[in-house]
C-alpha cells in the first residue's frame, strides 16, 4: 500500500509543498512565542509584577497575536526586531553609503600622495587636459 501511494505523482508534488507549509507554520509559531516573550519583557519592565500585570500580558498577547489586528502588530514587531538586531544598519550601509560606488577615489585626489599627484598632473598636461 505504501509503495502504491509513493507511486502517485500527486504525492510527489504535494509532499514538498506540505513540508514547506509545515516549516512555515512552525516558524510562525516560534515567532509568536518570541513576540509573546518580548511583550512579557516590556510589560514587566514598565509595571513590575502582579496579577493585573499578568492579565495585561494576556490581553496584549491576544490582541497582538490572535485578534484581527495581529497582521499589523506582527509586521510592526518584525520591523522592530529587524531594527534592534541591527539589520537596518547593514541595509543602510548597503543602500546609502555604497562603499564601492565612490567617495574618496583617486579621481578626486582623496588618497593620492604628492608624487602621484605630480605624476597625474604631468600626464594630464601632456595630453592637454586640465587638473581639477
Amino acid at each position: 500500500m505504501t509503495i502504491l501511494a509513493s507511486l502517485n505523482p500527486l504525492d510527489w508534488l504535494l509532499k514538498p509543498a506540505t513540508d514547506i507549509l509545515d516549516t512555515v507554520n512552525l516558524l510562525i509559531l516560534g515567532f509568536k512565542i518570541v513576540v509573546l516573550l518580548f511583550i512579557v519583557q516590556f510589560v514587566r519592565g514598565r509595571f513590575g509584577g502582579g496579577p493585573i500585570v499578568t492579565i495585561l500580558i494576556l490581553v496584549l498577547g491576544y490582541v497582538m497575536l490572535f485578534s484581527n489586528l495581529a497582521p499589523i502588530f506582527t509586521t510592526a514587531m518584525f520591523i522592530y526586531l529587524f531594527i534592534i538586531f541591527g539589520f537596518s544598519m547593514l541595509v543602510m550601509d548597503l543602500v546609502i553609503a555604497k562603499p564601492w560606488a565612490g567617495g574618496g577615489g583617486e579621481e578626486e585626489g582623496g588618497h593620492m600622495t604628492g608624487k602621484q599627484y605630480a605624476e597625474a598632473l604631468e600626464k594630464r598636461k601632456s595630453i592637454g587636459g586640465r587638473m581639477r
Binding site: 516549516t23 512552525l26 550601509d93 560606488a101 565612490g102 574618496g104
Partner: protein
C-alpha cells in the same frame, strides 16, 4: 576583482558563505553539530530565563523554543544566527567597507 563580479553580488556571496560555513561543518563533523545544538540550547534557555526568570514556565517555554528552532528548524536557524552574530558584533561594517571597489577598500595605487 572589479569587473569580474559586481560588488553587490560579491558582498551577498560573502554573507552567504558566512551563513553556510557552520552548516557545512555540521554536516561534515557530527561532533560540531552537537556542539552547535548544545550552544543554541544554552542560548535559548538564557534568553528565556532573562525574560521570565527562573521557574517551571521558563523550562516549558525553553523546551518549546528549543524544539522548534534548534531541533526542527536547525538548518534555518543556524544561518540566521550567524547573520545575526555578524551584524550585531559589527563585523558587517568591516565586510561591507572592506570590499574591493572605488571606496575605502581600494588601495591607493590600484587604479593606475
Amino acid at each position: 576583482m572589479r569587473g569580474f563580479l559586481p560588488p553587490m553580488i560579491l558582498l551577498l556571496l560573502v554573507f552567504v558563505v558566512i551563513m553556510i560555513i557552520p552548516l557545512v561543518l555540521a554536516e561534515l563533523f557530527d561532533t560540531f553539530k552537537w556542539l552547535l545544538i548544545v550552544y543554541f540550547c544554552i542560548t535559548v534557555f538564557l534568553f528565556v530565563k532573562r525574560i521570565l526568570g527562573g521557574g517551571i514556565i521558563t523550562y516549558i517555554v525553553s523546551g518549546i523554543l528549543i524544539y522548534i528552532f534548534v531541533i526542527r528548524l536547525f538548518y534555518l536557524f543556524v544561518p540566521l544566527y550567524m547573520l545575526y552574530l555578524v551584524v550585531s558584533l559589527g563585523l558587517s561594517g568591516i565586510i561591507v567597507f572592506g570590499m574591493p571597489g572605488r571606496g575605502m577598500g581600494r588601495k591607493a595605487g590600484a587604479a593606475r
